[in-house]
């Protein structure tokens, strides 16, 4: 076995034997995200997930990349870029040192998720170092695989609650031949209406965002992009400016995200009108709303639930933390299953307590 993996295994077994709690550390670019339970120093042990690094397998014609969890996300993006491919779900890095494993554990997708689908749709396989010190392999490198339950997709976005993700196989996509970004001078309500009207049309829309104006990114075959551009109208933005716009949005570095106010992420169902609860940027046709305001969880959560969604205090900054955590509490039926899953995979509660699900 890989000696670095063996060292991690030993750490896990020692922590398990000593009834410690393990806090999984990547490069820390997303340390603001999720719940942080206060732990006594003599109980908490950090485990460094960046020691396992490097691309294990990448053959462009297979449309799959397999890499160790500690591989810098940038290294993966560069490698794919050189072969004319990309991570279609467009993950945010929130810092140059972000790792592949952190990306999968956080499960976050960027603006291009609208056309491509979420991160978990691209996970084909994952290896997990569990609380018993076993390395378990789920899924694989093939596109279609229904042997056993799809645990690798369950690990995507699990924030380490089931153990340490050591390796991931991810489906990749060819880069589009052409992209065009259009700008429309619309207010939030009119922008939402336009997005809603696009959904049932066969147009190559890869991303939409509202930040003072509506931005629509078209991507695909040049002829399809051209004909959609002709149909939609709007002001065509210079390509460099457009790339910068989507990048700043994805990395939350545009002007809207600056400042000390807490940042809420509100995921809502289709056709939800403006929430009118504070300054708003939206993505994904209105499905993901960013609201910059010091909101009360008790007010915002019912509002999100009413819109078939949920609210997350994404970046608390200096704001108040809800007493029951930054995520919307789970429905009772789901909570029962999640608690039992945690109990089955990590009976002693070794990994990342409460980070994703408060109290679990």
């Amino acid at each position: 076995m890989n000696t670095k993996l063996e060292l991690l295994r030993e750490q896990v077994l020692r922590a398990e034997a000593e009834s410690k709690v393990m806090v999984i550390k990547g490069s820390g670019t997303k340390s603001f995200y999720g719940n942080h339970v206060a732990l006594d120093e003599d109980v908490a042990v950090a485990i460094d997930a960046t020691t396992l690094s490097g691309v294990v397998n990448y053959e462009p014609t297979e449309l799959v990349i397999t890499a160790w969890a500690g591989t810098p996300l940038q290294e993966i993006k560069d490698k794919l870029d050189a072969a004319g491919q990309m991570l279609a779900f467009d993950p945010p890095s929130f810092g140059s040192s972000a790792t592949f494993g952190g990306c999968v554990a956080a499960g976050l997708s960027g603006p291009l998720r609208q056309g491509a689908g979420p991160l978990r749709d691209f996970v084909l396989g994952a290896n997990l170092l569990d609380s018993r010190g076993q390395v378990l392999r789920f899924g694989g490198e093939v596109m279609k695989n229904v042997a056993g339950y799809d645990v690798s997709r369950l690990l995507a976005g699990s924030m380490g609650m089931f153990g340490l993700i050591t390796q991931v196989s991810m489906k990749v996509a060819p880069k589009p031949l052409e992209t065009v970004t259009l700008r429309f001078e619309l207010d939030e309500q009119a922008a939402l209406q336009m997005c809603h009207s696009l959904r049932a049309q066969a147009l190559p829309v890869s991303a939409t965002a509202f930040d003072q104006a509506l931005f629509i990114r078209l991507a695909g075959a040049p002829s399809a992009v051209r004909s959609a551009f002709g149909k939609l109208g709007g002001e065509r933005i210079d390509a460099n400016e457009a790339n910068l716009f989507w990048q700043l949005l994805r990395e939350q570095e545009s002007a809207f995200f600056k400042g000390g106010e807490p940042l809420w992420r509100i995921a809502v169902g289709p056709n939800t009108p403006p929430l009118n609860i504070g300054p708003t940027v939206f993505e994904w046709g209105g499905g993901q709303r960013w609201v910059k305001a010091d909101l009360d969880a008790a007010t915002i959560r019912p509002l999100a639930a009413h819109a078939d969604g949920h609210a997350t205090l994404f970046h608390p900054k200096a704001g108040r933390l809800p007493a029951d955590g930054v995520f919307q509490p789970l429905s009772p039926g789901v909570a029962t299953i999640v608690r039992r899953l945690k109990q089955e995979f990590d009976p002693k509660g070794l990994f990342n307590p409460g980070r994703l699900v408060f109290g679990v």
Partner: protein, 498 residues
């Protein structure tokens, strides 16, 4: 076909069939409970008729409350429950449990709601796959996953199996096209997984539920993502004089940055089997043909078809034909989708395999299958979802010969183990069910199999939902390992195995 009797672990049950029927009649009207042999017989198997077993009773509830009550009653008595959609599954996943209840969801056949602007459909689990696309058509939308059985198979069954189809390379599997599932646990609790919003809080239970083969909960409602119908779709039929060339054409298409709407391969055995049956116009003189589809706007399709043709010519296609009309396009696909029935016409029986491999190994695996035809002295026609690397070798045999049945099963097992050996999986879309439970011992370690059992217990602590399928016991794997030592010549082949 031979009959493999379902053998429950509970060989001594503390209830009888009449206890079970009595309990069911307390929660269901009489016409929803079938227990006479002539009524339960039609449910003894699914699409894989090699595996049969009669349940103690079949129930066909009509309301969600009735499903809930059935589950609660079964939980109280400790009776296994096997859910069933249309019974088109190909791995014995819906084979009844001999000491259990078969829960048929056929009466849940309503499309509740289609929202054009949201591009979603809310349907009951017994709705047929194709019926969703038919109902969505007036809105310019359709449901993308299209398993070959789509005229009959149900959405509930698609969720259980994570069904694919010929268009999933571009449009994804069931897991990519389901937003939300409403299901009932064995404890009778109604739970909604997923969301109309882009995601839900907590770990993603929906993705582990989809493809769980009816072992985690019983679905009562599904919210599906609908896709705008492209303005145009055209398919190229490309002929190759060599299977390896056809395989490399698949890799070259992907290397050119093209994701076709569908990319299928059929070898000569398959085209010669299908052509007299469907008259699709296939080139039966070719060693293999590829069907490669482009969809989108009129201009986009013209561009992409030209790029695809260029690749095929470069790789050495001997003939290229592009569909000239929607009728012709559908005819090209009809041949592919009718490969299984066509096999039924030329052979008394056929056994369909479902391994997936990394595409680069297509040629190697095809050659190995050709060798196996000689070794097992059986014919095998090959149809593939080539773009996904998902193979469907159809082993032709005659079930009246016990020897041929045994050779067909051994041939199938050998193919699946080869798939694992080259870095693939034993099932791409048909599920493990009863059929491939032994090969699970080959693909996964004991620790991995145990973690599947952990997932199972988290949803179904009493392990009553579709028990003894998918995840083999330690004893079964030990037994299978031993069988291997004897080189496939099973001692006591007629003994029930657990």
């Amino acid at each position: 076909m031979n009959t493999i009797v379902g053998t429950g672990v509970k060989s001594v049950s503390d209830y009888t069939a009449s206890d079970v029927v009595k309990a069911l009649l307390q929660v269901l009207p009489e016409h929803c409970v079938l227990s006479r042999l002539e009524d339960t017989r039609p449910y003894e198997c699914d699409g894989l008729s090699l595996y049969r077993s009669l349940p103690m009773a079949v129930v066909l509830p009509e309301t969600e409350k009735q499903v809930q009550d059935v589950l609660i009653a079964c939980r109280r008595l400790g009776v296994p429950v096997v859910a069933r959609g249309a019974g088109t599954g190909l791995s014995g996943g819906a084979m009844p449990h001999a000491q259990g209840v078969l829960l048929g969801l056929a009466k849940f056949n309503k499309i509740k709601h289609i929202d054009r602007d949201a591009a979603i459909a809310i349907v009951e689990p017994g709705v047929r796959n194709l019926a969703v696309s038919e109902a969505a058509a007036p809105f310019g939308l359709y449901y993308a996953p299209d398993p070959s059985s789509q005229i009959a198979c149900t959405i509930g069954g698609n969720v259980a199996e994570n069904s694919g189809g010929v268009h999933c390379l571009k449009y994804g599997l069931t897991v990519h096209n389901v937003l939300k599932v409403r299901m009932i646990t064995i404890d009778g609790e109604i739970v909604e997984l997923g969301s109309m919003a882009p995601d839900s809080p907590g770990p993603d239970l929906l993705s582990v539920f989809i493809g769980s083969e009816g072992m985690l909960g019983v679905v009562t409602e599904v919210t599906l993502k609908l896709t705008p119908k492209p303005a145009l779709a055209r398919v190229i039929m490309a002929s190759f004089d060599d299977v390896e060339k056809a395989s490399s054409a698949v890799a070259e298409i992907i290397a050119a940055g093209i994701i076709p709407a569908g990319l299928e391969m059929m070898d000569q055995q398959a085209t010669q089997m299908v052509e007299p049956f469907v008259k699709a116009g296939y080139d039966t003189s070719a060693a293999a043909i590829l069907l490669c589809e482009s969809d989108g706007t009129v201009e986009e399709v013209a561009d992409e078809i030209a790029r695809m043709e260029e690749v095929f010519q470069r790789v050495g296609a001997t003939r290229l034909q592009v569909s000239e009309s929607e009728t012709q396009r559908l005819l090209f696909w009809a041949g592919r989708k009718n490969a299984f029935p066509a096999a039924g016409r030329v052979s008394p029986d056929y056994y369909c395999m479902d391994g997936t491999i990394p595409r680069r190994n297509l040629g190697r695996v095809l050659n190995a299958i050709a060798e196996m035809e000689k070794r097992f002295n059986l014919r095998c026609a090959n149809v593939f979802h080539a773009g996904d690397g998902n193979l469907h070798p159809l082993i032709l045999f005659d079930s009246n010969s016990a020897d041929e049945v045994q050779r067909a099963e051994d041939f199938g097992a050998a193919i699946l183990e080869l798939c694992v050996e080259v870095g693939g999986t034993i099932t791409g879309e048909h599920g493990v069910g009863m059929e491939k439970i032994n090969q699970m011992c080959v693909q996964f370690s004991r620790d991995e199999l145990d973690s599947f059992l952990r997932v199972k217990r988290a949803f179904d602590p009493a392990t009553l939902l579709n028990p003894e399928k998918v995840v083999p016991t330690l004893a079964r794997c030990a037994e299978y390992g031993k069988m291997h030592v004897h080189g496939g010549a099973l001692p006591f082949a007629d003994l029930p195995r657990f």
